[in-house]
Each structure stands twice: as structure tokens, then as C-alpha cells.
């Protein structure tokens, strides 16, 4: 559940109680109307919790990623459609055999402390991310990188163990942020020093964090707002009332109910964005009854995904196949049993020699995200009609994470994170040596081969065809049962302009946002 952690954390903060403490010793945070140097009004963003870390290589919490993305730069970036575009690297080129990736760095880029950014910083960053002692979460995304060379200040050469088409996309996450080679984690925890569009202004722990426009930012377009304040208001409904009274101008909600309330008042505009994150019933094909592919297929045929979406999430979302990334999207119509088919389910159970029914235990998290328990109950009810008894074990979210991390479950109702590149999403789950394969519970030589092929070609159409096969292989074997992808809701008050929501929940367009 890679980036799932992000949304899960966000949702957890949203729906269970969240956080915060301590008052400011140095005066209240700047108010909404604060005017900074360079003109324009400061923007206030309502968030349910503040970042749990300011060190980009370890940040998985949604709020932390959102803040850090605006402070730090990455070699590549995503545009609004999640295509990989140049970031700190102006261009990159793979050698013909795919074993070398040469990146040309942007010139004249400076860190917040005024020092220059060059290839030495890139080498030091990538080397440290790959070092296990750093405990960087993106380490495995560099699995194909054997060494990093910096032949001159403007060039970086990555020597690879083999072609890796997913690498440019992997470099775009803030977990791959480029840090100055002089900085240490300890220093950055207190004083971020990045190349992003903003620098850290003031921080009042658990209350607010203010970003200030970085006038030395390399981008053609300088940030519009002089300041962006992330104001911690732990309860989503309280954020709505803060927006109604004009104290907060922008917020991202995950709970459809809260979004509906916000939109109901008339003063707040709410935009829906489909998510990369997907809701799924994970099956552990290495345990119990689920070892039998026919039992898994029977479960798959016994579930009407639309019903799960409608009953658990007010119909707010789309039924989805394994791949949610726009450029590689799976077609849910092409799966086995695209519609619920109880006869087929009975047939599969018969094949498994379990015509009398089976019992499967599933873990469910309580409070990690809004819809988990409702989803589980609907799944249980639907499966019961196919003589499959889904025994639910509802766990507090910490206990759920413990069990999930240890892969100690037969089935799990989960919200997992999708990524713009399907290799990034699933390579680590469904290849036999993937670091999350234990949790995925399924792998096969066919999948290993397909994932290897997917990395080996950079041709977009060829890759799409390969990942279509991956999706088919996953669903034909009912590795998991993919249910639906929800929305996030971006709420803005009148006067907020230029904000573009993205399917990965990124707030990177804050740099283009202004308030009038």
C-alpha cells in the first residue's frame, strides 16, 4: 500500500480525530488578508493535520507530501495529466541498450539558502536515498540504478542494471527530492532547504505552517501568492465553517458527506477529481481457502462493484480495474464477470469442491478512511448470497497496519495508493522479488515476465499493451478484487484562481494559485 499510505493518512486525519497542540509564542499566524512583498494576497489552506516530518525522503503522510512538494524540487515532475515533464533535469536520454540514463540539469538553480544546485547534489542525494541507513522510502524505486556519476556540474549519468522505463516517473515524487550535499537530516528537519517555488516562513507546531514565495525560483512562472499558509483545523466540518466565514480559502476533502455540506452553502465551490487511489479487497492467495484460484474467482463473480460503491461511498467514484493511471487505465468491462454472476460463482465454488460454501476471514480498518467498514459489510452481504462467509475482523487503524505490514491476513479491505506509472504501482506488489509481494500474496512467472517487459520498453503504446496484459493476468487469477476509485474534493471560496486539482492529490499548482 505504497502511496495508499498518503491517502490513508489523510483520511485517517480527516475522519478519526486528528491532532494539534500548543499555542504560538511569537504572535498569531498571518491572517488571510496579509499582503506580502511583491503584492497579492496570502492564501490560507485548511488542513486537518500538519506535517509529521519535514524531511522529504521519509514523508509519506499526505499533508507532509503536500507541503514538501512546494519546498523541494525533483529531477522530473508531473504535469496536470500526470505526464512526466522536466523538473531540475531539463532533459534525459536513455542509451540504446537502456543501461545508461543521462540527465542534463537546469542551470542557475539555487537552494533556499542561496547555494547553487549542481550534479554533486544529485549524486549525493541519489546515493543517500539508495543507502539503507537513510531509511528513505523511495529506495526501491532506484533498484535498477547501479551507480550515479557526475561527469560535470550540469550532467548526471545513471548506470542501470537494465532498461527501466519507469525511472523518470519514479524520480518525480518528493520522496526523491534533491537536497544540498551539505545538508543533513537533522538540519533539514528544522530548516528545509530546497529548490521549490516556496521557502518555509513561519511554523507554529500543530497550528500552522506558512510558505513564503521563493523569488529565486527557477520556474518561468513565479508563484502568484506571496504566502501560502497551511492552517491546521483538525475537523473537516470545522474547515467548512472556517471557509464559510472567510478565514480559509482552499481545502481538499476526502469525505463525500463533508464535500456535499460544503457545496450546499453556495459560497464554496467544490470540484471533484477522480483519484489514482483505489479501493480493493486484497486476497492472500497463499493462505487457506484462497489458495484455490476457483474460490477467488467465485468471490470475484459474486460481487457487484457498483453496489459497493453506491452503498458505501454514496456512489461517489468509479468502478475500476487494477490500473487507475489515466494513460494506462484498465477497462473494467474486460474483466471476468464484469457484472455480478451468482451462477458463475456457484460454478467456480463447485470446481473448487466447495459447493457447500467457504469461510474467508478479512481484516478491516476502523477509522483509517471513511468507507472501510461500510464496504466490508456490503461485501459480506453480497458474498453471503454466494455461500461465501466473509468473516470480518474490524481493527483500530494501528492494529490494522500492524497486521497488514506483517501480511497476517487472508483478505483485507484496503484503500491502496495508485501511481502515475503502473510499474511504480504494482511492480513491488506482484513481482516475486517485489518488496511488498509478501503483502500482495500473489506472483507468477507470467507476471514477472510482463513487469520486466514493461520496464524494458519506453514506447508508450507498447507499454500500454503490456500493462493491459498485466491487468488481465491479475483479474483472470483474481489476485485481488478491485472495487472502485473515489474522488477528492477541492473546495475554494470566491476569489481563488488558478488552482488545478490532480488525480494524485498533489497541491503542486499552489504556485499558480492567487486570491483576489
Amino acid at each position: 500500500m505504497p502511496r495508499g499510505t498518503l491517502s490513508a493518512a489523510a483520511l485517517a486525519a480527516t475522519l478519526s480525530l486528528a491532532l494539534t497542540s500548543c499555542s504560538s509564542s511569537s504572535g498569531p499566524a498571518p491572517s488571510a488578508g496579509a499582503t506580502g512583498a511583491g503584492g497579492g494576497k496570502g492564501l490560507v489552506v485548511g488542513v486537518t493535520s500538519d506535517p509529521d516530518t519535514l524531511f522529504p525522503w521519509k514523508a509519506t503522510q499526505f499533508q507532509a507530501v503536500n507541503v514538501l512538494q512546494n519546498l523541494y524540487g525533483t529531477l522530473t515532475e508531473f504535469d496536470k495529466d500526470l505526464n512526466v515533464v522536466p523538473g531540475l533535469a531539463e532533459s534525459w536520454r536513455a542509451s540504446d541498450d537502456g543501461r545508461t540514463l543521462t540527465l542534463k540539469l537546469r542551470q542557475g538553480v539555487m537552494f533556499a539558502d542561496g547555494s547553487a544546485f549542481d550534479s554533486k547534489d544529485v549524486k549525493s542525494s541519489l546515493d543517500k536515498i539508495m543507502d539503507e541507513a537513510t531509511a528513505a522510502v523511495a529506495r526501491t524505486s532506484l533498484a535498477s540504478v547501479k551507480s550515479v556519476e557526475a561527469p560535470d556540474a550540469g550532467t548526471v549519468v545513471l548506470k542501470l542494471s537494465g532498461p527501466d522505463a519507469a525511472l523518470p516517473a519514479n524520480l518525480a515524487t518528493v520522496n526523491m527530492a534533491m537536497l544540498s550535499s551539505d545538508d543533513t537530516e537533522e538540519k533539514l528537519n528544522g530548516t528545509p532547504n530546497g529548490t521549490g517555488p516556496f521557502t518555509l516562513g513561519k511554523r507554529v507546531p500543530s497550528q500552522s505552517l506558512t510558505l513564503t514565495r521563493n523569488d529565486k525560483y527557477w520556474g518561468a512562472e513565479k508563484p502568484k501568492a506571496p504566502t501560502v499558509e497551511f492552517r491546521v483545523i483538525p475537523d473537516e466540518s470545522s474547515i467548512v465553517s472556517a471557509m464559510q466565514s472567510g478565514n480559509v480559502q482552499l481545502a481538499v476533502f476526502n469525505d463525500p458527506l463533508v464535500a456535499q455540506t460544503a457545496a450546499g452553502g453556495g459560497t464554496i465551490t467544490v470540484a471533484k477529481t477522480p483519484q489514482l487511489n483505489y479501493h480493493v479487497l486484497q486476497l492472500n492467495a497463499r493462505r487457506g481457502e484462497l489458495k484455490d484460484v476457483n474460490v477467488r474467482l467465485a468471490m470475484q463473480c459474486a460481487i457487484d462493484r457498483k453496489q459497493v460503491l453506491d452503498t458505501a461511498a454514496l456512489g461517489e467514484g468509479e468502478v475500476t480495474g487494477p490500473i487507475t493511471a489515466p494513460a494506462f487505465k484498465s477497462d473494467p468491462g474486460k474483466r471476468p464477470c464484469p457484472a455480478r454472476d451468482l451462477a458463475k460463482a456457484a460454478e467456480y465454488l463447485g470446481k473448487a469442491g466447495k459447493a457447500g460454501g467457504v469461510t474467508v476471514k478479512a481484516i478491516v480498518s476502523q477509522g483509517e478512511y471513511a468507507t472501510s467498514v461500510n464496504e466490508a459489510q456490503n461485501l459480506k452481504a453480497q458474498l453471503a448470497e454466494a455461500k461465501i462467509n466473509l468473516e470480518l475482523e474490524v481493527l483500530e487503524s494501528g492494529a490494522f497496519v500492524d497486521r497488514w505490514v506483517a501480511a497476517d491476513f487472508d483478505a483485507a479491505v484496503a484503500l491502496n495508493g495508485g501511481r502515475p506509472d503502473p510499474d511504480g504501482s504494482y511492480g513491488r506488489y506482484f513481482t516475486s522479488d517485489g518488496n511488498l509481494n509478501k503483502v500482495a500474496g500473489y506472483s507468477s512467472p507470467t507476471l514477472d515476465k510482463l513487469f520486466a517487459e514493461g520496464k524494458a520498453t519506453t514506447d508508450q503504446a507498447a507499454r500500454k499493451a503490456i500493462y493491459d496484459q498485466v491487468a488481465a493476468e491479475l483479474e483472470n487469477n483474481a489476485a485481488w478484487i478491485w472495487l472502485f476509485a473515489g474522488y477528492t474534493y477541492t473546495a475554494t471560496t470566491a476569489g481563488v484562481q488558478g488552482f488545478t486539482p490532480m488525480a494524485n492529490g498533489s497541491l503542486q499548482s499552489l504556485r499558480a494559485t492567487s486570491v483576489s
Partner: protein, 322 residues
């Protein structure tokens, strides 16, 4: 007499130390009984992808690689030297965090108590002045409402009504302490104090009513009335004066609970008090934050109880004599 007092103080101090040690052990054990640790709290399910070497590096970073007993005594020892531990999340010492959040909650608690007394005592006296009458029923109704309406419901209702209808929502702004901006601070405290105060007004109202009824039936009241003491003076000076002991007890108890119990209200109104500090600490499994803060709350509770005892003596000469 002096020796007696000294003895009593020593006993009290020993009792307090024992209580606090018990709290320290209890919180330490309970925290570790909760599934997960700071690593999984921070990384969530991403923790599944850690290699053993990465896991070990993180355990060292958070100090989780040491034996539990060593962790306990290291923490307790540090507390004595004024080192409450460090919050990795906030990049601040827990002492600093506590010194900021404790006054906020203390202020909220005092305001709530003042509001509660302002509602509870007069209504309680009113209710007692004519037991089983219509005004008694009114008092009972108010008290029932205070006891039965959950704080979160009252809080969210007030917040949305005030914000949506009047645009009044000082809590959506950055929090101002009393020293920084007294006016804004009081506006920000108004709704949370009202919610908490309403809840506490109920037991105070009931206690007042019962105490007043009891005192009124005593001989000295009848004597005073027979001697021609005016009714108002009789009610305030003689009746209320003597009914104060149970009211003070109840108020002291409620104040103690408020110090740790304002979590929900602090959460909804974004008041950066100590309740939220504990809640956040639990969610992030920041052991030092939770352990140290809970100990501070326990100490405050004990001190408030002590203060209540002292107040008895001031109010009631009989307690002093005994």
C-alpha cells in the same frame, strides 16, 4: 500542632509521589500495548516495504532499540532533570510544547468553570427555593440537557450555526493567546468555554440544589429567620455560605477533569491545548509526548485536589477544627 501538620504534609507528598509513579508506569505500559509504534504511525502501511536494515536504522533513530525497562527509567530520570523528552514530529522539546499548551487549557478550564458557576449556582438556588415547583422543573430540565447533550454535538452545532448564519468563527483563524491578543483570544475561547461550561453547569446545579435544600432545613436557618434576618441576606449569607463546601468539592473535581478532558472540544474548535497534545501524541505514537504530558496533567489534578482541600478549611471552620 506543627509536627502534626508536617506529618500530614509529608504523608500527602508521599501519596502524591506514589500516585504519579503509578500513573507513569500505567501510561508507559498502556502506550506500548497499543498496536504500532512511531515507525508505523509515520509510514503507515509503507512500513511493509522497509528492509531489515532500514527498519533497524529507524528503530535506532526513535530509540526503540533499547529494552523497555531501560526506556522507562531513562525517561523517568530525565523528567527529574526537567528533560521531558523530544517530539520528533514538532522538532521541539515536550517541555516547550507543554508550557505553551497547558496555559491554554488552564484558561479554557477557568473560563468554563466561571460560566458553569454563573449558570449552575443561581439556577440551583432558584430550583431549591421552591422544591418541586415549576422553576424546580426548569432547573432540572437545564441540568438534564447539560448532562445529556454530548459536547461534540453542541460544539459542531454552535460552530456551524454561528459560522453559517452570522459569519462568526474566530476559531477558523490562527490561535491567539491571551498575551498576544486578549480580545481575539476571548472570542476564540467563548464557544468552547460555553460548550464545556454548559456540561459542567449540570452537576453544579444539582449539587447546589441539594446542598441548599439540606442547609435550609437546619436549625440555625430557622433561628436566623425567626430573628428577622432579611430573606435575601439569609439565602446568600447563611444558606449559600454553608452550602459552599459540596459546591467547591464538585467544582474542584470538574476542574481536574477539564484539564485532561477537553480533548473533543479543543479538537473541534482548534484550540491548541493539552488535550490535543495528548491526542496527537497517541496518534503519532510519540511516547515521550504522551507520557510526559499525562504526567503533567496528573500532577495538575493532584494539585487542584490539594487546593480544594485548603479551600474547605477557609470556608468551613469545622473542617479546620477536625
Amino acid at each position: 500542632m506543627r509536627a502534626l501538620l508536617r506529618n500530614r504534609l509529608a504523608r500527602r507528598a508521599a501519596g502524591t509521589a506514589g500516585t504519579l509513579f503509578g500513573v507513569a508506569v500505567f501510561v508507559f505500559v498502556m502506550l506500548r500495548a497499543i498496536p504500532g509504534n512511531q515507525i508505523t504511525a509515520g509510514l503507515g502501511t509503507e512500513a511493509a516495504a522497509l528492509t531489515p536494515a532500514q527498519q533497524a536504522a529507524l528503530e535506532r533513530y526513535y530509540g526503540l532499540d533499547r529494552p523497555l525497562v531501560a526506556q522507562f527509567f531513562a525517561w523517568l530520570g530525565n523528567m527529574f532533570t526537567g528533560n521531558f523528552g523530544y517530539s520528533a514530529r514538532n522538532q521541539q522539546s515536550v517541555l516547550d510544547l507543554t508550557l505553551r499548551s497547558l496555559p491554554v487549557t488552564a484558561e479554557l478550564a477557568v473560563l468554563s468553570i466561571v460560566l458553569a458557576l454563573a449558570i449552575g449556582v443561581p439556577l440551583g438556588m432558584l430550583a431549591a427555593s421552591r422544591a418541586n415547583s415549576a422553576r424546580d422543573a426548569l432547573g432540572q430540565a437545564v441540568s438534564l440537557a447539560g448532562l445529556s447533550i454530548p459536547a461534540f454535538l453542541l460544539a459542531t452545532t454552535l460552530l456551524s450555526v454561528f459560522a453559517a448564519s452570522f459569519g462568526f468563527n474566530p476559531n477558523g483563524q490562527g490561535f491567539a493567546t491571551l498575551a498576544e491578543d486578549p480580545l481575539l483570544n476571548l472570542r476564540q475561547m467563548l464557544l468552547p468555554a460555553l460548550v464545556l461550561g454548559f456540561g459542567i453547569a449540570a452537576p453544579i446545579l444539582r449539587t447546589t440544589r441539594a446542598a441548599v435544600l439540606e442547609v435550609r432545613s437546619e436549625d440555625f436557618v430557622r433561628t436566623a429567620r425567626a430573628k428577622g434576618v432579611p430573606e435575601r441576606r439569609l439565602q446568600v449569607r447563611h444558606v449559600l455560605g454553608n452550602a459552599l463546601v459540596p459546591i467547591v468539592t464538585m467544582t474542584g473535581l470538574q476542574f481536574g477533569y477539564l484539564l485532561g478532558g477537553a480533548v473533543v472540544v479543543e479538537q473541534i474548535f482548534s484550540v491548541p491545548g493539552i488535550g490535543r497534545q495528548v491526542l496527537l501524541g497517541i496518534q503519532q505514537k510519540e511516547y515521550a509526548v504522551v507520557q510526559s504530558t499525562v504526567l503533567v496533567i496528573a500532577l495538575a489534578f493532584v494539585l487542584v485536589n490539594l487546593l480544594t482541600d485548603v479551600l474547605y478549611r477557609v470556608i468551613d471552620p469545622r473542617v479546620r477544627a477536625s
